[in-house]
């Protein structure tokens, strides 16, 4: 009898161990519960629930695979409602990228296409809060602003002109969470990029956009040294979901259950 119990017990343990190991999906990093400092929030850090995020931006090669099962998102087939004319314009044909760019991040991609891609992987786009939380991390510490040289490195990356052909993903530097290319490769879509108001519209006086674009001064912004964050927020505020840019890609995230 006791053997049966022992077997039951050990099988439960085994299953538990298996599940634990299987928790972080392949190619993703687990970001524990924590907080980040939004650009416009003074010193009020915003808490972010734990989640998973892709270690790399989605590549041309990966996107091509997606098109095999979703031909409606090919360059020739995509509906104008969901992507502007320049959609995948760096690809040499309807169904092929330049071979050297197989592992480069896919760009010239609309928000709609990025959202659909992630949904088909059983994932979703990261929220702006989640993305920024990961982007705050330095190489060896969770708060990159405390890491000597980190901010300077980001700035140097941000001011570097985009090369004609984008390098492969995973060639910049991995951060504290093991996530690559948050800085210095491409801009990335976020799920709620459209929450940045360039003019506080319904409640002008309290609109969170005010703190962002006060030219010259930035009284309500949390970290004025974070110039790269300014650039990201400014970009997001200017984007529409159908827009495509030659240096705008994406990666996916998932809820941590």
């Amino acid at each position: 009898m006791s053997i049966v119990y022992r077997i039951l017990f050990s099988s439960a343990l085994l299953v538990a161990a298996f599940n634990l190991r299987a928790q972080t999906p392949a190619g993703m990093a687990m970001i524990p519960e924590g907080n980040y400092l939004p650009l416009y929030a003074g010193n009020n850090r915003t808490s972010v629930a734990p989640f998973y995020i892709d270690k790399h931006p989605v590549t041309n090669g990966e996107f091509l695979k997606f098109l095999e099962s979703e031909p409606g998102w090919k360059k020739s087939a995509v509906k104008r409602l969901f992507a502007d004319e320049g959609y995948l314009k760096h690809w040499v044909s309807d169904g092929m990228y330049r071979s050297a760019e197989k592992n480069s991040p896919v760009v010239n991609i609309s928000w709609f296409a990025a959202k659909k891609y992630c949904e088909c992987q059983g994932k979703r786009l990261p929220t702006t809060a989640e993305w920024e939380r990961v982007a705050e991390a330095g190489w060896t510490v969770a708060d990159g602003s405390r890491e000597p040289g980190f901010n300077e490195w980001i700035l140097a990356m941000a001011s570097k002109p985009a090369p004609r052909s984008l390098p492969a993903v995973g060639t910049t530097k991995a951060n504290y969470y093991g996530v690559w290319d948050m800085h210095g490769l491409v801009w990335e879509w976020t799920l709620d990029f459209n929450s940045i108001m360039s003019t506080g519209e319904s409640r002008a006086a309290t609109g969170s956009g005010d703190g962002l674009f006060c030219a010259g001064g930035s009284a309500t912004s949390g970290d004025v040294s974070n110039y790269a964050a300014f650039l990201r927020y400014a970009l997001r505020s200017s984007l529409k979901a159908g827009h495509v840019l030659q240096n705008l890609g994406f990666r996916c995230a998932a809820d941590k259950k």
Partner: protein, 206 residues
């Protein structure tokens, strides 16, 4: 001991099997979609909102897809019912527009309110808003889930910023869709004369 190891092997096999099954299920979002044949109506262009396959719930507890709006131009706005000032204003602007139409014209136009607050705007709440604002019974008011709402906002170019108090900062835009669901005109801002909107609607119904 032999027995135990046999159990373990069996267990491992079962666990491995269940995991591999899970993996197979993951990309099904793509494959099932294709079988559903979401082929749009032939007359619909690539810019039509009728391409959206999201499902919406009306304040009358019906379901609605955007293609159901075909045949008549639509005057639409995104609002939320707990909105303190801007949304009542935008609805008032839409009513002024409605009053500017002749009875014959009015019959050829739909009025649509789309909730940006799917959590709180359940059918009862929307019904209450409709009666509080004395909306004509043929006005349509709808909500969906978060993703469909976000997609709709992005299709319409409406910016929505959730606030800590449960409300939203948002663009104030009145949208006019033509009979085939394309955005024909958008008016940004509140309390404007309805002249241009009326002109736009009249070109669409005649």
């Amino acid at each position: 001991m032999k027995k135990i190891s046999r159990y373990f092997i069996l267990l491992l096999a079962v666990t491995a099997l269940s995991c591999s099954q899970k993996k197979q299920e993951a990309p099904s979002c793509c494959s099932t979609k294709q079988h559903e044949s979401p082929e749009p109506l032939p007359a619909v262009s690539g810019e039509s909102l009728f391409l959206l396959d999201s499902k919406w719930e009306t304040y009358r507890n019906d379901t609605l897809k955007f293609e159901d709006l075909a045949g008549k131009p639509v005057v639409a706005a995104m609002i939320f019912t707990n909105c303190p000032s801007a949304c009542p204003r935008i609805v008032a602007d839409m009513k002024i527009l409605e009053e500017g139409l002749t009875t014959a014209e009015r019959e050829q136009v739909r009025f649509l309110l789309i909730s940006m607050d799917p959590k709180r705007d359940n059918p009862e709440q929307m019904q209450k808003f409709a009666s509080d604002h004395r909306l004509n019974p043929d006005w349509i008011m709808i909500r969906s889930d978060r993703m469909a709402t976000l997609e709709m906002a992005n299709v319409l170019g409406v910016r929505i910023n959730p606030l800590d108090d449960g409300g939203f900062d948002h663009s104030n835009t009145i949208h006019i869709l033509n009979k085939t669901g394309e955005i024909a005109y958008q008016q940004h801002g509140l309390a404007l004369e309805p002249t241009e909107l009326l002109k736009q609607i009249r070109t669409l119904i005649n």
